[in-house]
Symmetry: C2
Subunit: 204 residues, 2 copies
């Protein structure tokens, strides 16, 4: 296997690095610099025609993309300890929170990033700054949703640490990097972030 | 269990209905009319505070939301025949295609719907019609991506029918309903849609 990785602040490759660290998996990696545009070179497009990281080349030469798909592949290879749940109820709750982090929280954060941030101004996409700005309250609502959940249970999807927490940490840290931190008064989210950031995997 | 369902053209509840039909699972259901705004009544908000369908109330009273999370829960209860894959490679490929249908195809379709369609004009959201329109070419690119994959294998994620096909059918049919059909010259996608639509589950 070869893992095509990109350094922080890219949130998606980091999900896989944290996941692998939590599982104790040593992934042979190659670094693709997004700042240098290496994800759009012919050499990398031959690996992932979508021009994105992360990607995982399997031993049979096939390539898996999408951060959560790579994590699920690794979970299937290394099932213990499970980070996608073991019982039907855990499996369902973790998937629910994966999707909420992705579709409710990361969605507006990525719109703010793509449509308003100076770092993305040079991208060959049409920007709609007013639309981007309109996503700020949506991101705040999503942070509040996560805070409320973390007031009910120690980890996002329940009693056990899971891949949903990994997705939330990468979202929260990326949001802070682009100037969209969660409000200070979300105390459950704040104390969860401190616990998450103290895990050895968080430095991945 | 009680499944909180909404009739077509809502794409997300339909995913669960098709999934259950493919598995032969009989889900006790209650219909929530989105046209009548029933998903925002206090009675339903007590079940799903996010005011969306589908939702599944489990026997212990807890509620699972998010269509794919409900499907995964059902897969864990009724593992055969697997629709989320059995081998690590299948599990990874199916998750990759779930995410591509969701994040690459449904994303622009939902933006066209929310920001340009007359049926959503009354929703209490700020609309950005120019942004909505800019999503049309993104949706077409995503259809082409799916067509290319279906030129390589009979089903979206490979040799076996999977939940990724279910998500794609609900996306394609919903897109057609809102006036964003895929181009006629995407022959692989067209013949796949015929095969999908001929399955008994497609009427769900």
């Amino acid at each position: 296997m070869i893992f095509y990785d990109s350094p922080n602040p890219a949130p998606n490759p980091r999900r896989v690095r944290i996941f692998a660290a939590e599982k104790g998996i040593d992934l042979p990696s190659e670094t693709i610099s997004i700042v240098a545009g290496e994800q759009k070179t012919p050499a990398y497009l031959a690996i992932n025609p979508r021009g994105q990281t992360p990607a995982l080349r399997l031993d049979d030469g096939s390539v898996l993309t999408e951060s959560v798909a790579i994590c699920r592949y690794l979970e299937a290879l290394y099932p213990d300890a499970p980070l996608f749940g073991a019982t039907p109820a855990e499996i369902g709750a973790i998937e629910m929170w994966i999707r909420r982090v992705e579709l409710v929280l990361m969605e507006p954060i990525s719109k703010i990033w793509l449509h308003t941030h100076p770092f993305t101004a040079r991208l060959p996409i049409q920007r709609f700054p007013d639309y981007g700005e309109a996503n700020r309250p949506r991101a705040m609502d999503a942070f509040a949703m996560c805070d409320a959940a973390l007031g009910q249970s120690p980890w996002l999807a329940g009693e056990a640490f899971s891949v949903a927490d990994i997705l939330l940490l990468t979202a929260v840290d990326f949001a802070a990097f682009i100037g969209v931190p969660f409000p200070d008064d979300l105390g459950h989210l704040r104390s969860w972030r401190q616990r998450m950031s103290a895990r050895p995997s968080a430095t991945a």
